[in-house]
């Protein structure tokens, strides 16, 4: 150990985390897009002079943390430190350099002290619009998904690039929001800069090198110890999703050894001809997050935590697609990857995994003219039930992205719809010793004067979330338009008076249903969460 004792090091480390917390708070409060403010679809981190992630906010979107790490590497490869100047801020939304989705803008600002770069502030936030077809699952290549900005200096020596901002404005439907969010990200970096320099001044630090080294090494050690608690071996699983025209399967093998954890997606279906695909960078980030929730190393997560983890997949399969394959629906893909990892490790550490989660959050885009005569583009989000927990029933929670479902009163006061139902779906949680989380309904009646454009991107309408350790599958989701069942990925025009019924799927159960506590079964029946028929069939409930 160098000059940093275990007291001072802990204090400094916490301080770096709290700096990122303040920066993230600044970003959330100044961002415009509801995607950012309501769904926390952003992250804001601190990297050391080598570009390694050393601190991030506690409530930061985990999938973005891992992918930001990779984005920073790409930034520095393209524009190494000797090409950077104080006041520069780099930007890209290139899916293969960032989060595998065009709508995410990554920004990075080098933080200077006494003429050298001591750290980097980096952030990513989901933009509601980058041009193109608005995240349609039907895009056939990346060019339909919007305008791709290669790595560039969005701020140069402290000045915003007039040309770039004009190009961005000219290519989006809601330029004020898109540009406002980019400024919010930049402002968050400035907060990081100010707080970091205050901290380094107060403590008399010239650089963060030793501090960063200790943080990374100690986090790596803690992660390795946590991994050692998992029985070594090779564990396999596969998960099937509805897909768009055809089902696709994600195969997964997790190797647990003294080297660490390796996830291999060999055997996964080939890339889809639509946008239901993901780049390895983002699959890797979400997979690592899933592994951290299983291992629970007990430290803040940073580059050191992720060092013992590796994720690979054959090129060209749907979790490792290459340019110019479309990737707009990648969020749907990664949650299945997380489920596959839980499923694979369920035989090794059943009390550390969730059962299969129902579905990634369903995004539904609606667009038209609202009751005030103004144009609107909004997204309805709907979460399904999470898988049952090893010691408790499943919940409805945003996972792996902590997205909030659309709430009724705010939605109706902005958009030309009346919501006719928003409630748990009976019998939707998979039976088990612990029941899967229930799905929820959202039934909308169109009250617009003109037709409203609707784009669906739902999943698990045909392939249910399975249970683990003997638990049973949850119910599939359901989408119907005026009573007619849909496949779940359509785009169409909703006419005034039309009814769209959305019912999200339930999560899988954990453990055998026969072992469920009788009082819990009785309680579910009394609550109407489980019908009498289902209770008798699945749990052998004797009542009537």
């Amino acid at each position: 150990m160098g000059s940093l004792d275990p007291v001072t090091l802990g204090i400094y480390w916490n301080k770096l985390v709290s700096i990122t917390e303040e920066a993230a708070a600044a970003l959330a409060r100044t961002a415009f897009s509801r995607v950012v403010t309501d769904t926390r679809d952003y992250s804001c981190v601190l990297c050391d002079a080598e570009g390694d992630l050393i601190a991030q906010p506690l409530q930061s979107l985990p999938g973005f943390v891992g992918s930001l790490q990779q984005a920073v590497r790409h930034f520095l490869r393209e524009l190494p430190p000797d090409t950077l100047e104080p006041g520069d801020t780099l930007m890209t939304n290139d899916p293969w350099l960032n989060t595998s989705q065009m709508n995410d803008f990554a920004l990075m600002t080098p933080l200077w002290r006494e003429g050298r770069i001591v750290a980097y502030a980096a952030s990513v936030a989901h933009s509601p619009d980058v041009g193109g077809r608005l995240l349609s699952a039907e895009a056939r290549d990346i060019y339909e998904e919007g305008v791709c900005y290669p790595i560039c200096k969005l701020w140069e020596r402290g000045r915003p690039s007039d040309l770039l901002f004009r190009i961005i404005r000219r290519n989006v439907r809601v330029p004020d929001i898109v540009v406002g969010d980019l400024y919010a990200q930049h402002a968050a970096h400035m907060v990081t800069q100010r707080l970091l320099m205050q901290f380094m001044d107060a403590e008399g630090l010239r650089d963060l090198d030793e501090l960063a080294r200790e943080i990374k090494n100690r986090s790596e050690q803690a992660m390795r110890q946590a991994i050692a608690a998992i029985p070594p071996g090779s564990y396999r699983s596969s998960v099937t999703m509805d897909g768009i025209d055809r089902p696709c399967t994600i195969c997964c093998r997790v190797d647990v050894s003294s080297e660490g954890l390796l996830v291999d997606f060999d055997g996964t279906s080939p890339a889809n001809p639509n946008s239901l695909n993901c780049g390895l960078n983002y699959v890797s980030a979400e997979s690592m997050y899933t592994l951290v929730t299983i291992c629970r190393p007990g430290t803040h997560v940073n580059h050191g935590t992720l060092r013992p983890l590796a994720v690979v997949a054959p090129e060209g399969c749907l979790v490792n697609v290459q340019r110019p394959t479309a990737v707009g629906a990648r969020t749907l893909v990664v949650q299945f990857a997380a489920s596959a990892i839980f499923q694979a490790l369920s035989s090794a550490v059943p009390d550390r995994v969730l059962s299969e989660a129902a579905a990634p959050v369903w995004p539904i885009v609606v667009s038209g003219t609202n009751q005030f005569g103004r144009r609107f583009v909004d997204m309805i989000f709907l979460n399904g039930g999470l898988g049952a927990r090893p010691h408790a029933d499943g919940l409805i929670l945003g996972f792996p992205a902590p997205v909030v479902s659309t709430k009724v009163e705010i939605f109706e006061s902005e958009n030309p719809f009346v919501v006719e139902q928003s409630e748990y779906v009976s019998d939707s949680g998979g039976p088990g010793r612990f029941r899967g989380g229930p799905g929820q309904s959202f039934h909308l009646r169109c009250t617009a004067r003109e037709p409203v454009f609707v784009l669906l991107r739902t999943e698990r309408l045909r392939h249910p979330a399975r249970g683990v350790a003997g638990g049973l599958p949850g119910r599939t989701g359901r989408v119907a338009w005026n009573g007619r069942t849909l496949l779940g990925k359509e785009t169409f025009l909703m006419q005034p008076g039309d009814l769209l019924e959305l019912e999200s799927p339930g999560g899988g159960g954990h453990g055998p249903a026969a072992e469920r506590d009788r009082q819990a079964v009785q309680r579910d029946v009394a609550a109407g969460l489980v019908t009498h028929e289902k209770a008798r069939a699945a749990y052998g409930w004797p009542g009537d």
Binding site: R40, Q59, A222, I410, S413, S422, Y424
Partner: protein, 716 residues
């Protein structure tokens, strides 16, 4: 004989009382609470206090009352069997919550059970639209059906929360009328009365909390009132609100959700009054209240505590935002920044020293309590660092065992980290101070407050021990330690004005606000607030405070912007003024404005208040606590026996002892016992002032002034 007031603050363990003649405090008392009958404990304490001071109950004008009973009933789930009626098809908003994990890396953690289980959440076919149009009125037959089911289920309280009832309450009112006939004696809490604010989850959650504690609080206040009358009391029983106002007993019994945080709110209002009296920190302050099991902070700006519109009760994980039940109600913004003196120190997964959030609490407590706790805590470290005197903890009534502290710190911290015991103890002190300072700093930053302009007001047993170290980290230069900190909230009650707040949502672009509608909305709110304002005050003495939640259209976080309402009614100039205030406030918070984006109003707020001269009470010479110690005293957190303060002989304490200071290590510090002897004196640090209820630590280079009223003001 009239002109007396008594303030009663019922906490979890103790009941604190303070008696005033006019504005002068003439007596204090502290008795153990009786959780099964808190009104009896309060009445018992009151009788003793009145007897000791020879004050007849008939001489009391007001009893001002603060209590944790409601919040404890929620935390301990001792409320009434409660039902929730919702619009049919929407009964799960309460349980679905915000769908946000409060810890992204722990997917297995528990969430609080909703106060109303699903079988008691029932739908009524009815529908009101966002603009207040009633698309479908409720039917009496369905309500009768529901009432029958609730009767069978033994429901004792009902919450009603229909969609968009903030825009039109008619359907909720109709149902309440039928329920009163169908379920006589079962009170109904309507969301349109409790909180007519947009957002079905927040409104339902708040209304349900109200319904859940309503029967309990109603009975409690009625019994307390009856007990007071029996004593001969003929004045008003007033209850402190979470927002730092007073309301009458009847209003409190109908809206108990308003009194959840009455004790802490009294304390915060008291701090504001104290600062005003001291002229300290330009009226801006950060409070730092550190006790055995918790450390809390709040912020006072321009002589008023900051109030938040939203907070949580009954968190399943104490320091995790989002793990509790949501209550949207004006509340003095008090946040927990640490687990207090009982916080346990350990070596974490990274091999580093960490402190808390796990706490040894009061039982078994720190190792040095000698009650079987063998884990090292902050209090143990404080003892080993010379900050505390083992022989004079709680005035010597509760001796501490330094050897047990040494053993615990050695075993769990020093040995694993390869440090000397004193180094380890110093580490614990530094880490816990850094954690608390950071939490205070983040809270202040979130509020857009520059803490360096504030004074730090330290209360609680451990507050004055850590205050200067925490202040230094925050860049705060002035620390204020009030006297009588043991009954601080009871003193604070005396400074709380009669007040009532209300809110109504009317969402519109500011440019498109319908002015006649706004006039009508405020006409109703003013009437409502006046009707609920205690004391039938002369209208000309009532001050109305107007504010509105405003955001840039499209953003999702609003600022609450105060404005002045013209007596001639609203006009466009009012809205222009709101726009200017919002833009200025936004710039302060976010360092920019966003030209060209329209502003949107969400909810309109009103506070009616009858201002008091909010002076900090003078303490009468010889104002005494009484009658020795109550039964069961002598444990940690034990009572302050004010009368004995400073009574020890000068030879009792050594003149100096070695005390640890982060920037200096151990240095010889002057030790003064009892601040009563130090009135009007100036002390140069390093020094410690040992009181019975706390120890004031003055670091080297700092200067402490002890005022007439024994308030200690330290300049760093």
């Amino acid at each position: 004989m009239r002109g007396y007031t008594v303030c009663v603050d019922v906490g979890g363990t103790f009941v604190d009382l303070a008696l005033f003649e006019g504005e002068v405090a003439v007596g204090f008392h502290k008795v153990l609470n009786v959780p099964s009958a808190p009104e009896q404990a309060a009445l018992h304490g009151l009788r003793e206090l009145l007897a000791a001071t020879g004050t007849p109950a008939a001489a009391l004008d007001d009893v001002i009352y603060a209590t944790t009973l409601a919040v404890n009933a929620v935390v301990e789930r001792r409320g009434a069997p409660t039902a929730l009626l919702t619009t049919q098809g929407f009964r799960d908003a309460l349980e679905i919550r915000t769908e946000q994990p409060y810890d992204l890396y722990n997917l297995f953690g528990p969430f609080p059970e909703p106060l109303v289980p699903r079988r008691l959440r029932l739908g009524v076919a009815e529908r009101t639209l966002y603009d207040g149009t009633i698309a479908r009125p409720p039917q009496r037959e369905r309500v009768a059906e529901v009432a029958a089911a609730l009767r069978r289920a033994g429901v004792a309280s009902v919450a009603v929360c229909f969609l968009h009832s903030y825009a039109n309450s008619a359907s909720e009112e109709a149902v309440a009328g039928w329920l009163a006939e169908e379920l006589p004696g079962v009170p109904a809490s309507l969301s349109s009365r409790v909180l007519p604010e947009i957002g079905e989850y927040g409104r339902a959650s708040t209304t349900v909390v109200n319904a859940y504690v309503l029967p309990l609080i109603g009975r409690h206040l009625a019994r307390l009132d009856a007990g007071l009358r029996e004593l001969g009391f003929g004045g008003r029983l007033l209850v402190v609100t979470s927002a730092g106002g007073m309301m009458g007993r009847q209003v409190a019994a109908e809206l108990p959700v308003k009194l959840l945080e009455s004790g802490p709110a009294s304390g915060a209002v008291g701090v504001a009054a104290l600062l005003e009296a001291k002229g300290a920190g330009d009226g801006d302050a950060v409070t730092f209240d550190m006790g055995g099991t918790t450390a809390k902070t709040s912020i006072v700006i321009d002589g008023r505590p900051l109030v938040t519109t939203e907070y949580e009760v009954g968190r399943v994980e104490r320091f995790k935002r989002g793990s509790g039940l949501l209550v949207r109600m004006p509340t003095v913004d008090i946040v927990e920044v640490g687990a207090g003196g009982g916080s346990i120190a350990y070596v974490d997964a990274a091999g580093l020293l960490a402190v808390g959030p796990r706490s040894a609490g009061a039982e078994p407590g720190p190792a040095c309590y000698g009650r079987g706790g063998d884990l090292p805590t902050v209090t143990d470290a404080d003892l080993l660092l010379g900050l505390l005197n083992a022989a004079y903890f709680l005035g010597g009534t509760f001796p501490l065992d330094a050897e047990l502290a040494r053993r615990a710190v050695a075993r769990h911290v020093a040995t694993p980290l390869g440090l000397a015991v004193e180094e380890a103890a110093a580490g614990i002190f530094r880490v816990v101070n850094a954690n608390m300072a950071q939490a205070v700093g983040v809270h202040a930053a979130e509020k857009g407050v520059n803490v360096q302009r504030c004074a730090l007001v330290a209360i609680g047993g451990a507050g004055p021990v850590h205050a200067c170290a925490v202040a230094r980290q925050l860049g705060i230069r002035r620390v204020v330690v009030p006297d009588k900190a043991g009954v601080f909230s009871a003193l604070g009650c005396r400074t709380v004005p009669p007040a009532f707040e209300h809110v109504t949502s009317y969402r519109a672009l500011l440019d498109e606000v319908d002015l006649p509608r706004l006039d009508a909305l405020y006409g109703r709110m003013e009437e409502h607030c006046l009707a609920n304002l205690v004391g039938a005050a002369a209208p000309e003495r009532v001050r109305f405070g107007y504010a509105v939640d405003v955001q840039y259209a499209g953003q999702r976080s609003y600022l609450t912007v105060p404005f002045a309402k013209p007596s001639s009614g609203f006009h466009r100039a009012t809205l222009a003024a709101i726009t200017r205030t919002f833009e200025e406030a936004y710039e302060v918070s976010y360092h920019r404005r966003i030209p060209g984006v329209p502003l949107e109003a969400l909810s309109w707020r009103l506070r009616a208040e009858e201002p008091l001269p909010t002076r900090w009470p003078r303490l009468a010479a010889g104002a005494a606590g009484l009658l020795g110690r109550p039964a069961g005293a002598g444990g940690p957190g034990g009572p302050a026996d004010q009368g004995r303060q400073g009574g020890s002989a000068p030879g009792d304490a050594p003149r100096t002892r070695a005390v640890y200071f982060p920037e200096h290590g151990f240095v010889a510090a002057r030790v003064c016992r009892g601040r009563a002897r130090l009135a009007r004196e100036r002390l140069a640090g390093p020094a410690v002032i040992e009181d019975e209820e706390t120890t004031v630590v003055v670091p080297p280079g700092a200067v402490a002034d002890v005022g007439d009223d024994l308030t200690v003001t330290i300049v760093l």
